[in-house]
């Protein structure tokens, strides 16, 4: 239970203790704070064995503290670090324990002993559970099309199952942290949160993605974007997805909505009102107020927008990441062509 404090069993245990956040003992609060500190500094929560009465409740308390920061990056790092702890523990667990944990998440999992050629599989997992936990993975072996699947069951080795369980744990913690609205914590707890926030402020600068410099550098466009950009300028029509990818890309690297609209002007069926609406919508100026980012590389590949990878593409999975990387190499040898 102490190892896997996110299980229903552990939650039930805490409920029965009937502890209120106001009267949490110092050791619990200290361990909770330590969980978060370790997550923020080392990206990994430690697993030293200690008193269950401290270890188990320290998890929900830490969750509450992290949620109260209302800081997406802190939440992400914490969830990831808890998942990493789980992942390390699962390495040494038996198939029975893995099955039990999987069932805790309502996975449709079966214990099997199947050998396909030289590969031995220990589990099958229903494809919906598999998909929900692999969309963030990018290795080719996690693509459904590269798996052995029969009757909706995906065949997995023990290690692979453990990897997916850790991902499920990460998503579970992230969901728990996703609390709407502000809530008040007792002063002694709030002080600890404040201390953590300050500590992280110095750390943050190193992690956060730098903003793009002003001005659009065409030479740093990835091949797919470059091809659509050139095409559009010579009056070629783009698919729906193509338009979305190009527009959101340009907006995100700092092109103004006005400039993007002008780009579409060369099309024979240009409709200013409609284009303005769509571009401003993507820029976050209308309706949902969210600024859209371009689809990832594999999505562009599915819809036939990818024109083939170049050397830089190979290590990356997002057109904006390409731009960021290429920009860095270009910046090293200014001057550059600017649009």
């Amino acid at each position: 239970m102490a190892k896997y404090p996110f299980t229903n069993e552990a939650a039930e245990y805490v409920r029965e203790l009937d502890l209120k956040i106001e009267d949490m003992s110092e050791p619990i609060l200290t361990r909770a704070e330590q969980r978060i500190e370790e997550a923020l500094l080392n990206a990994l929560v430690s697993t030293h064995s200690r008193n269950d009465e401290i270890e188990i409740p320290s998890f929900p308390v830490a969750v509450m503290m992290v949620a109260s920061t209302a800081d997406t990056l802190v939440k992400k790092r914490y969830a990831l670090a808890e998942a990493k702890r789980v992942s390390l523990l699962l390495k040494d667990e038996s198939t029975e324990t893995i099955t039990k944990l999987a069932e805790n998440f309502n996975w449709k999992i079966k214990l099997v002993k199947a050998a396909v050629e030289e590969q031995t599989y220990n589990f099958t997992l229903h494809l919906t559970d598999f998909l929900k936990n692999t969309t963030e993975f990018h290795e080719k072996k996690w693509k459904l099309v590269n798996r052995t699947m029969l009757n909706g069951d995906v065949y997995l080795t023990k290690d692979e199952t453990a990897r997916l369980l850790a991902e499920e744990a990460r998503r579970h913690v992230e969901k728990k942290l996703d609390v709407k609205g502000k809530f008040e914590l007792p002063e002694n707890v709030a002080e600890r949160v404040e201390r953590l926030k300050q500590m992280f402020a110095t750390q943050r600068g190193k992690i956060q993605l730098e903003e793009f410099p002003k001005g659009v550098v065409i030479a740093a466009f990835p091949p797919c974007i470059k091809s659509m950009y050139d095409g559009l300028r010579s009056g070629h029509h783009l698919s729906h997805i193509g338009r979305f990818a190009l527009t959101s890309f340009l907006i995100n690297i700092g092109m103004t909505a006005e400039d993007v609209i002008n780009l579409y002007r060369s099309l024979s069926d240009f409709n200013e009102r409609l284009t303005r609406y769509q571009v401003e919508h993507i820029a976050g100026g209308r309706g949902s107020r969210t600024r859209y980012i371009p689809p990832r590389c594999d999505t562009l590949r599915t819809h036939g927008v990818c024109t083939g990878m170049d050397e830089i593409c190979r290590g990356l999975r997002h057109p904006l990441a390409y731009y960021r990387r290429k920009l860095r190499t270009i910046m090293a040898k200014v001057p550059v062509e600017r649009a």
Binding site: E118, T135, L144, G235, H303
Partner: protein
Amino acid sequence: MIETKTFVRNEFSEYYQKHSSSIQPPTQIEKREFGFLILKERVMIRHKGFKNVDDLTKFLKTLVPSDVYYSSAYYEKPEEEMEEKGWLGADLIFDIDADHIPTPCAKIHDTWVCGNCGTVGKGILPEKCPACGEQRFDEKTWLCEVCLESAKVETIKLIDMLTRDFGFSSKEMSLSFSGHRGYHLHVKSKEVQTLDSMARKEIVDYILGIGLETGFHGLEERKSRVLVGPSLDDSGWRGRIARGTYEFLLTATPEELEKIGLKKKVVDTLTQHKETILESWKEKGPWGAIKGVDVENWRTIAQRGAEMQSAKIDTVVTTDIHRLIRLTNTLHGKTGLKKVEVPITNIERFDPLKSAIAFKEGTVKILVSDAPEFRLGDQTYGPYKNRQIELPTAAALLLLCKGVAEVKEEK
């Protein structure tokens, strides 16, 4: 003389008066968004919601739309704007349309007119106008038997994957003919409804074989340089790769082999050993059976084979979790045919050009400007060129809806 659009509307109106009881409401109708295309103005009315099928049919009888759509998605409030609807889930849907498949007929029955200079051409839409370079065209498509047959073949491949690999039962799936050039397949199981767009993209990639690497399906070089690969009766993509490779090598010409990127020397070796390859399938397959063809060569061939085994679904429809799709037993505005359910277990014997006929009585006098030969039911019609003729209502409506004829009678 009655105007063609008014005539079509009257006919559609009569259909909805008489056949409203056959309208199949989607499951949980109260959670679906509806959309309607208006006959005359060709505008879309969206964000409509209905509590029950009676309200829907009443609405159809008054509005008489040319096309009726509902959302694959379930919403808390289907009538609100997109961001406010409250998405609860969506059926998993697949669309196979002749438009997206290379067909043996090469779409020779389709015509296009350049939006700029007016040049006219036949067949698959060119990338740009050969005369002026314009990229915008007016298209006139036709529904031909060859196209429909190709769509059916792809649909059968899709059903095979969804059944064997994905484990969906025929009860969880419903299949229909769209009333024009394709088939729609819906999976309504609870477990797939909450899959997000990314998860559905993975399903699309599986069906189309995008990102597939034959190395993950047993085509590899073992220690001591022994080549192994999948067998014909393997399940999942393993078997498909083997069967695709078999099929491809059976018919491929040396030119086709070179086209997929094989060196001349390898192509020669393959051609010389055609018999050996064919025989090898009885045992472990051709992998490693011939000297001079290495693992990379086999992967190139197998990749091409896999492509032949994939089912050519529309990528956008499946990944769009807010999609509107045509409602079963309503009319298709481009053909006057209806979208009909197809028995999944009996698709081979399904005849779309018979089952989708909505108008079974009467005849109409029309003036046909230009139409190729076509079949509806057991009757073959045409070709017609500037001809006045009296046709059964369904055939006449098809030509009227396609915009290649006008009405020539009082009504």
